[in-house]
């Protein structure tokens, strides 16, 4: 593992009930870079992210973060490692019984002994960084989808993590929120000097901001490269995915047996 690599996946395999989900994944996430993992829904992207967060352990291979193999850490060691990570969940996962302020302050209160005045100042700074200064007294139910995502982002970066993971950060956002969140992800990555990993199937928005892309299909990497490489790729899966084409290796129809026979039609 190079000193410039923060996260390393080597021959990561994972299966649920003997059903393989990840098949020999090798990935490197260099420090300070913003890397996307793309693929269709159900291809194993989020499972990869959960391995990097130490929520799941590989059945074979390893995930190394900041020089430490995650599945070899005990509970306290894993928690210590997670304090250096932040994760933005698909729909924010804000604590619905807490105000925006308490959500952003949550980790500061749990992991530090900072006085409340300092926590307050830090919360205001984080909210300002995501453009939501003034919303601190609102409850999550009072926020729009885009605002909730940004509050969750402020909570994610509360303790300036070295690694930020984003699980489908663009899902369900309107075009303006999409651009705002996309720009924020890039700006925060550069400002914090963090390493970011985005799991997404939003090609257009993510290719604008990422440094490198891994394409995953059926639990394996089928293509990788910079945004320019991906756009120029002649690989049929990547072409179909990036350009949203109907025809290609990804079939429209589910494998559902013999349709004509089912309707008692002659071939």
């Amino acid at each position: 593992m190079s000193s410039q690599t923060l996260v390393e996946l080597r021959d990561v395999n994972f299966a649920y009930d003997n059903r393989p989900i990840l098949k020999g994944i090798n990935m490197d996430f260099p420090k300070g870079k913003l890397v996307a993992i793309m693929g269709l829904s159900g291809c194993g992207k989020t499972t990869i992210l959960r391995h990097i967060g130490g929520v799941l352990n590989p059945t074979k291979g390893h995930v190394k973060v900041d020089g430490q193999i995650l599945h070899e850490l005990d509970r306290l060691g894993l928690y210590e490692m997670r304090r250096k990570m932040g994760m933005l969940f698909q729909f924010g996962a804000l604590f619905t019984d807490m105000s925006v302020y308490d959500n952003v302050a949550f980790q500061m209160r749990e992991h530090t002994d900072l006085p409340e005045e300092i926590i307050r100042d830090m919360v205001m700074m984080k909210l300002r960084a995501v453009g939501l200064y003034g919303t601190q007294d609102l409850m999550p139910a009072e926020l729009s989808g885009g605002m909730a995502r940004r509050v969750a982002l402020a909570r994610t970066i509360a303790l300036d993590p070295m690694l930020i993971m984003y699980d489908e950060p663009f899902a369900g956002l309107d075009p303006i929120s999409l651009t705002v969140v996309g720009n924020l992800i890039r700006r925060l990555n550069d400002a914090l000097g963090a390493t970011s990993i985005i799991v997404t199937h939003d090609v257009q928005e993510s290719l604008k901001i990422v440094d490198y892309v891994y394409f995953v299909s059926d639990g394996a990497i089928i293509a990788q490269g910079t945004a320019a490489d991906i756009i120029a790729s002649e690989e049929s899966f990547v072409r179909q995915f990036v350009h949203g084409e109907m025809d290609g290796p990804i079939p429209f129809h589910f494998k559902g047996g013999n349709y004509q026979q089912d309707l008692r039609l002659r071939a």
Binding site: G53, V55, Y79, E80, R82, R83, M85, G86, M87, F89, Q90, F91, A93, L94, F95, T96, F106, Q107, E110, H111
Partner: protein, 263 residues
């Protein structure tokens, strides 16, 4: 033959699932006890849950206690009058409430009011990834979410049972003494003479404590184990009410057999 094999297989599958779930529930309960330190070190977390499970259940407990006391007063008077023992009405009302009805009925009401709310809340927290978010933020959800609710349930249950019994005695007094005209002096003095602190009141408190542990543990496990879907959470909520009600009644049989063996 195929049907028999399928039936046996289904039964075996069901049994394995049941044993598996009991094992998971036991493990969850042990973890809850193990990570209970936060609930006491940061007692305001537990106080917040005491408000939601205890204080918010007060109305239903007090009203139900009053109604049960009124019914006990009316039914008890009718029966005691046949034997010319109306003056023992206070004893009948108090012993029925303190030994049995207070702990059992308040536990059943607690299961449907606070237990179901705990299951739904934790189930929804899981469905909306709030539990996962906490785990990723290096905050143990069992210590932060589950244990304070558990101890709040365990603390509030005996208090609610005591209030239920007190309201029931008041209801019995209103019917027996104020409305029917049983002598107030004999109502209270017979009650005072026949209700033993250790044998009656403490056994009632122990019962309600055990019921509190059972109801809260079932509610929290069902919420934590609920599939993260609308059907999953609604099924878990139903299971909480059914299982904890049956557990309360079964435990009551066992505890009563141990505590009051007719000695």
């Amino acid at each position: 033959m195929k049907r028999i094999i399928a039936g046996v297989r289904k039964l075996g599958n069901h049994t394995i699932n049941l044993v598996w779930r009991i094992g998971m529930a036991t493990h969850f309960f042990v973890l809850t006890l193990r990570f209970s330190g936060t609930s006491f070190a940061r007692f305001r977390l537990t106080i917040r849950e005491l408000f939601f499970s205890g204080v918010m259940s007060l109305i239903i407990i007090l009203v139900a206690g009053l109604f049960v006391g009124i019914v006990l007063g009316l039914q008890g008077y009718e029966t005691l009058k046949r034997y010319g023992s109306e003056s023992a009405l206070g004893t009948l009302v108090a012993l029925s409430l303190v030994r049995e009805l207070g702990p059992v009925l308040s536990a059943l009401l607690f299961a449907s009011r606070a237990g179901s709310a705990m299951t739904a809340e934790i189930g929804l927290m899981k469905a909306t990834e709030q539990i996962d978010a906490m785990e990723i933020m290096a905050v143990n959800p069992i210590a932060r979410v589950v244990a304070p609710r558990f101890w709040a349930g365990v603390i509030s249950m005996p208090l609610l049972a005591a209030l239920f019994s007190a309201m029931g005695v008041f209801g019995g007094y209103m019917v027996g003494v104020v409305m029917i005209g049983v002598d107030a002096g004999s109502f209270w003095s017979q009650m005072q003479a026949s209700v033993d602190f250790e044998h009656d009141i403490m056994n009632g408190v122990i019962k309600s404590f055990v019921f509190g542990v059972a109801v809260t543990a079932i509610a929290l496990f069902e919420g934590y184990d609920a599939p993260p879907t609308a059907e999953g959470v609604s099924g878990a909520t139903t299971r909480t009410v059914v299982q904890s009600s049956l557990a309360v009644l079964l435990l009551d049989v066992i505890l009563t057999a141990i505590m009051f063996r007719g000695e």
